[in-house]
């Protein structure tokens, strides 16, 4: 059994950071229409789709949906997003970034200086026939990922990003964003050195069979995914690790508060309770 850090935390950490409240998103027909206008739609549509967890709006061939809990946005062209076309995607990453930035700037979704390009991802399509097995592969889009910054610190986690989808015609055909509104200051925390967090992870790894490798180690704020409620945003140490045990491997994450005071838990309750199971007859 081995335990090793393949990834390293940043050498320089701030001495203190501010903890902020995250405001509950305001989700209404009016707020959706405002958002639609920011994306270049008319906002004159009448088709709203309401459910307990989201509110949607349709205008022409565009669909816009906002999650009621997190405010996560999904905006897609219903005919063009995720559909293979004759033309393969061939824009450079720099060009895709340019198209995406122009779209975000025009929509003015985020304050200037609060986002940073993290990665240009691609959707790939492939096909092959059973006889020859010759694989034809094609790039279908670019998903340009911008990470959120709070006080110049990166925001990690399943939230805190915006991904703009560009199609082969160099047009925006979708956007996914989890970016909760930043609220008032809740306080300031001194940043603890990372050793205790690293030791906590090492202790967890002692329980595993096989070799543990930390493949990602980050310091920054942390934002949850689309269906989770989050009332504050505070600094954490976040690690993604892999455990290899023969032919079977697993990947998981470990989080620890980086501040000397905490404002919320990092690990939520189980969302979906499986219910008691009676032993099944074999």
């Amino acid at each position: 059994m081995t335990f090793q850090f393949e990834a390293k935390l940043p050498r320089k950490l701030p001495e203190a950071l501010t903890v902020y409240a995250l405001d509950k998103p305001k989700v209404s027909n009016a707020s959706l229409l405002d958002l639609a206008k920011k994306f270049g739609l008319t906002g004159q549509g009448k088709d709203f789709i309401s459910s307990s967890d989201s509110l949607g709006y349709l205008e022409g061939r565009w669909g816009l949906e906002v999650n009621r809990v997190s405010g996560a946005i999904s905006y897609t062209h219903l005919d063009r997003y995720g559909i293979e076309t004759e033309k393969a995607f061939d824009l450079s990453d720099a060009r895709a970034d340019g198209v995406a930035r122009k779209f975000l700037d025009r929509a003015a979704l985020f304050k200037s200086g609060t986002m940073k390009l993290r990665r240009v991802t691609h959707m790939h399509g492939a096909s092959a026939d059973l006889e020859s097995r010759k694989v034809t592969e094609k790039l279908l889009d670019a998903g340009v990922v911008y990470g959120r910054l709070v006080d110049d610190q990166p925001v990690d986690g399943p939230g805190g990003f915006s991904m703009v989808h560009i199609d082969p015609a160099a047009e925006v055909v979708g956007l996914r964003s989890i970016w909760r509104p930043l609220g008032k200051r809740l306080g300031k925390v001194k940043i603890k050195p990372p050793e205790a967090a690293m030791e906590g992870l090492r202790k967890r790894a002692e329980k595993f069979r096989g070799d543990t490798t930390v493949v990602k180690a980050t310091f920054g704020y942390f934002e949850l995914g689309p269906i989770d409620s989050q009332t504050s945003i505070e600094p954490v140490y976040a690690f993604v690790y892999i455990v290899r045990d023969g032919e079977v491997a697993m990947k998981s994450a470990y989080l620890a508060h980086a501040g000397d005071k905490t404002f919320g838990t990092l690990l939520g309750k189980r969302r979906f309770i499986p219910g008691a199971q009676r032993a099944r007859r074999q």
Partner: protein
């Protein structure tokens, strides 16, 4: 309305011992809840020692999938997984009924009912292997497999993906878009993949991109499956 079945394993006691997982119930039961919230019907929800390997094995190999996984329209499996150099996928169980692992070479799906199979497990549509060799013999009316290449995270923070996918899939959204959007994680580097069968190249690509639950595509008899198309984000 579709019939839904899920099997998930967090605990792996002897004789099937593996490292324990923590959130396979979240992904599978979340998927089930999401589908039920959209009006679909829960047929079974078997977890840990109640999840049986033979539920996935075809009767041609002595299994009982006809009464379980192949008796529903949409099944979801969450556990450990791996694909070996011989292009055989193994899904791991916590109890030995009849085996600790089910293997893709003993799967024949859709010869009764199954149309869509989600495999929330590592290396389940492993692009560094030959995914056609791994899965082609499973398509007996099965239309699509939705799975992952490389490793996929078992964590609370990403555990909502089953529910997030189901609420879109259950609402008639395009299955591939829903799977790739909701299961991709930039943070954890989770890379979802979907794979569809077709009679021709354009049919396979069309099904891959446009298949929806209750959509207009029919089942393809085994003898007419000639092409596969797959899609992923990385």
């Amino acid at each position: 309305m579709a019939k839904i079945g899920v099997e998930w394993i967090n605990d792996f006691p002897p004789p099937c011992d593996q490292n324990e997982l923590s959130y396979c119930d979240e992904t599978s039961v979340g998927f089930l809840n999401g589908m039920v919230s959209r009006g679909h019907t829960a047929q079974f929800n078997w977890g840990n020692g109640n999840a049986f390997e033979r539920d996935f094995r075809d009767p041609a190999f002595g299994g009982d999938d006809t009464n379980w996984v192949d008796a529903v329209d949409f099944a979801h499996f969450s556990s450990h997984g791996s694909t070996n150099a011989s292009n055989v996928f193994s899904g791991f169980f916590g109890g030995k009924v009849d085996n600790c692992t089910w293997t893709s070479d003993k799967a024949r799906f859709g010869n009764r009912e199954l149309e869509y199979l989600c495999i929330d497990a590592c290396n389940s549509l492993e692009l560094s292997r030959d995914i056609i060799a791994t899965w082609q013999n499973s398509f007996h009316g099965l239309r699509m497999i939705l799975a992952f290449t490389d490793l996929v995270s078992d964590s609370w923070w990403t555990g909502g993906r089953g529910y997030n996918f189901a609420r879109r899939a259950g609402n008639g959204g395009r299955l591939t878009n829903a799977w790739l959007d909701e299961c991709y994680s930039f943070w954890c580097d989770d890379n979802p993949v979907t794979m569809a069968a077709g009679r021709t190249q354009s049919d396979a690509v069309n099904r891959r991109d446009n298949e929806r639950l209750g959509g207009g595509f029919g089942d393809i008899p085994r003898a007419e499956v000639s092409w596969f198309a797959w899609r992923w984000r990385s």
